[in-house]
């Protein structure tokens, strides 16, 4: 977004953080990646994209041949928005660069939730050519079908700098399904995605991510969500496909009374995959609620599964559940659940378990006639089954489909 005027202070802050390593995860040398060279052409009708591109995107839950199933679509290739459209009144879907030209108030939202100097990755997004999606539901408007957004990495060895802003105005309801995908099955690349969510009073946002990168891709998302009074944020993260390195610790701040946040993550790591993934919720207002649930399976990769809930106000309640399954001989799962409270009357709890499949459970299913492999598959399928309260059935079905499609690879 070179054309976006950011203040001098932003620029200085970003420059000062350019060498600041992230608190967690492998430190990535940004010099190993080039900035995408060419601007790609805008595509009026996304169903006319190349068949292979559409297939890659479909693997991440993005449907381009049946627009009736979506309230809006945003497609970005490398740093270029190649298509955006909204199909429902009261829903805005566009490139952030364009949204800023349309709404002069929008600059107030940039870097309001995510600190610009969080680390070198946020700094790099600001200082490089970037764009991203702007999705907004106007007050009282509710999406019938989800809005879909795809961030596609077309050029190999390049860095994709993304900055997204999502705003759910008062009393609105927004369902978003986003997927990342890569053109190459094995070339390296770096995806940096800054996402800032603003959920106003009484609004509801569900955000479902299904990813389809390749085993050489590094990913550094930086996401912060601010939830106002009575707002609900429901985040579902599904990673069933290989990636080289993913580190993220999205944070939700409940700033209004009764704000509710639910994080569900399903992570799998095969050999060569390194995940350091957590969810952090700050309960800063009375009666705020959260539930953070993660399921991690390693078949040879390394997973650090973090979770952090902090209670800073009266009568808040939070629960953290971290379960890890080690399939096969190698692979590490390190569960780090953390709770912090500084008031009486808050209620925070966690449970964490890491292990292999209990033999007793396998034998129980075998006694019903299932073979050992069938029994194991049923238990793994059950482990990955997360019932997500508040998710529309259609998204729930797509989530289950994405999980089911990859189950076989796990076995």
């Amino acid at each position: 977004m070179s054309k976006i005027k950011t203040s001098r202070t932003y620029d200085d802050k970003a420059k000062a953080a350019l060498n600041k390593a992230a608190a967690y995860g492998e430190d990535i040398n940004l010099d190993n990646y080039v900035n995408p060279a060419e601007k790609l052409p805008y595509q009026e009708d996304p169903s006319k994209l190349a068949a292979k591109t559409k297939k890659d995107m479909l693997g991440a839950g993005i449907i381009l041949d049946d627009p009736g199933l979506r309230s809006g679509t945003y497609l970005q290739m490398d740093s270029t928005p190649v298509h955006f459209s909204a199909r429902q009144e009261g829903i805005e879907v566009m490139a952030l660069s364009q949204a800023i030209e349309k709404h002069d108030w929008l600059t107030d939202y940039l870097w309001k939730a995510v600190p610009i100097d969080s680390d070198k990755y946020t700094a790099n997004v600001e200082l490089s050519d970037n764009d991203g999606y702007f999705i907004r539901a106007l007050a009282g408007h509710k999406t019938v079908y989800p809005v879909q957004a795809c961030l596609y990495m077309a050029q190999a060895k390049a860095v994709q700098n993304v900055h997204n802003i999502i705003i759910a105005e008062e009393g609105s309801e927004l369902h978003i399904i986003t997927g990342c995908a890569t053109a190459s099955p094995n070339e390296p690349g770096l995806h940096i995605g800054v996402s800032e969510f603003f959920i106003k009073k009484g609004a509801k946002v569900t955000f479902t991510m299904i990813h389809n990168w390749n085993p050489e891709i590094a990913v550094r998302p930086r996401t912060v969500t601010i939830v106002e009074e009575g707002g609900l944020f429901l985040s579902n993260y599904v990673l069933m496909k290989p990636v080289h390195s993913l580190q993220m610790y999205p944070t939700a701040r409940c700033e209004g009374k009764g704000a509710t946040v639910r994080y569900n993550s399903i992570l799998t790591a095969g050999k060569g995959t390194n995940l350091d993934v957590g969810s952090r919720v700050l309960l800063n207002a009375e009666n705020a609620r959260t539930e953070v649930i993660s399921r991690a399976i390693t078949t040879g990769g390394n997973i650090v599964a973090r979770g952090y809930i902090e209670g800073n106000a009266k009568d808040v309640k939070g629960h953290l559940e971290c379960r890890g399954l080690i399939l096969g001989e190698k692979g590490i799962i390190h569960a780090i659940p953390e709770l912090k409270g500084d008031l009486a009357g808050i209620d925070l709890s966690h449970e964490a378990a890491v292990g292999k499949i209990a033999e007793e459970e396998v034998e129980y299913l075998m006694a019903r006639g299932l073979t050992r492999d069938e029994a194991t598959a049923a238990i793994v399928r059950g482990f990955l089954r997360v019932d997500i309260e508040g998710l529309p059935p259609m998204l729930s079905a797509e989530l289950q489909k994405a999980v089911a499609a990859s189950e076989k690879d796990l076995m």
Binding site: Y364, L365, M366, A367, G369, L370, R372, I379, G382
Partner: protein, 251 residues
């Protein structure tokens, strides 16, 4: 027919049962009595074929086939089914999934809904199996799964324990269904072996042969109703004394 010959079983290197002989003819249900620790459950687990229960001597044959070396699932597919006394909770695996696994490969099976209605478990189908189930619900769920599986040999480990009086009648009915007790003897093909502590189950199941197990072997074979009367009156100590009196001194 189930035929157990000179069977000895060890668990984690420790001999638990020894020299068991037992024959259950097609259509018959037999009952196992015995004090805690006598080895009743071990015998059932060994018949089902759980790997922890190692056969150190003797053999088990079922429908004329030696099954001593078969795995649990092979035995299940051959027609042996078991109700667990304390089945594990399997998170994420619903009761519906379990019942449908049991129905697998059976074209003549009832629908899952029908089975759930019979076991009064309609509201449990979408719940994780055994998660938060009461004692009676576990028993009914185990029997429902067996009714889906329709084994020719049903092994029941204390089906009445922890069940209240209202539930016990329903459980008795389900067992009778499983063991085909409502059809003429000549047409029955199902066999049963039931462990009971209290004998309540005899009010519901028509069993003609009973065994008293003590110290890892069968001490006594006879009419189960008579046995139960003796046990109720005199306790297992009398059985053990009687049994010990009959063992030749060199043993």
């Amino acid at each position: 027919m189930l035929n157990i010959k000179d069977l000895s079983v060890a668990v984690e290197g420790k001999q638990i049962i020894h020299d068991i002989n037992m024959t259950i003819q097609t259509g018959e249900t037999h009952v196992l009595f015995g004090p805690n620790g006598a080895g009743k459950s071990t015998l059932l687990m060994a018949i089902m074929g759980f790997p922890k229960y190692k056969v150190t001597k003797g053999s088990i044959s079922f429908k004329g086939k030696d099954i001593t070396g078969l795995s649990v699932d092979e035995r299940a597919r051959l027609g042996i089914g078991m109700s667990f006394q304390r089945p594990p909770v399997v998170r994420g695996v619903t009761t519906r999934v379990m019942v449908s696994a049991c129905l697998k490969g059976r074209k003549d099976g009832d629908t899952i809904e029908k089975l759930a209605a019979r076991a009064d478990l309609q509201d449990f189908l979408e719940r994780d199996i055994n998660y938060g189930f009461s004692g009676g619900e576990i028993k009914r769920s185990e029997l429902m799964q067996l009714m889906a599986q329709r084994p020719e040999l049903t092994l029941l480990d204390e089906p009445e324990s922890g069940v209240d009086l209202v539930n016990i009648a329903l459980i008795g009915e389900l067992m009778n269904d499983l063991l085909e007790k409502n059809c003429p003897i000549a047409e029955r093909r199902c066999m049963g072996l039931i462990i009971t502590h209290t004998g309540h189950i005899l009010d519901y199941v028509n069993a003609r042969t009973g065994y008293v197990m003590c110290d890892g072997t069968i001490g006594c074979v006879g009419d189960p109703h008579e046995m139960l009367a003796t046990i109720r009156e005199k306790g297992y100590n009398e059985c053990i004394k009687c049994y010990l009196g009959r063992i030749p001194l060199h043993e």
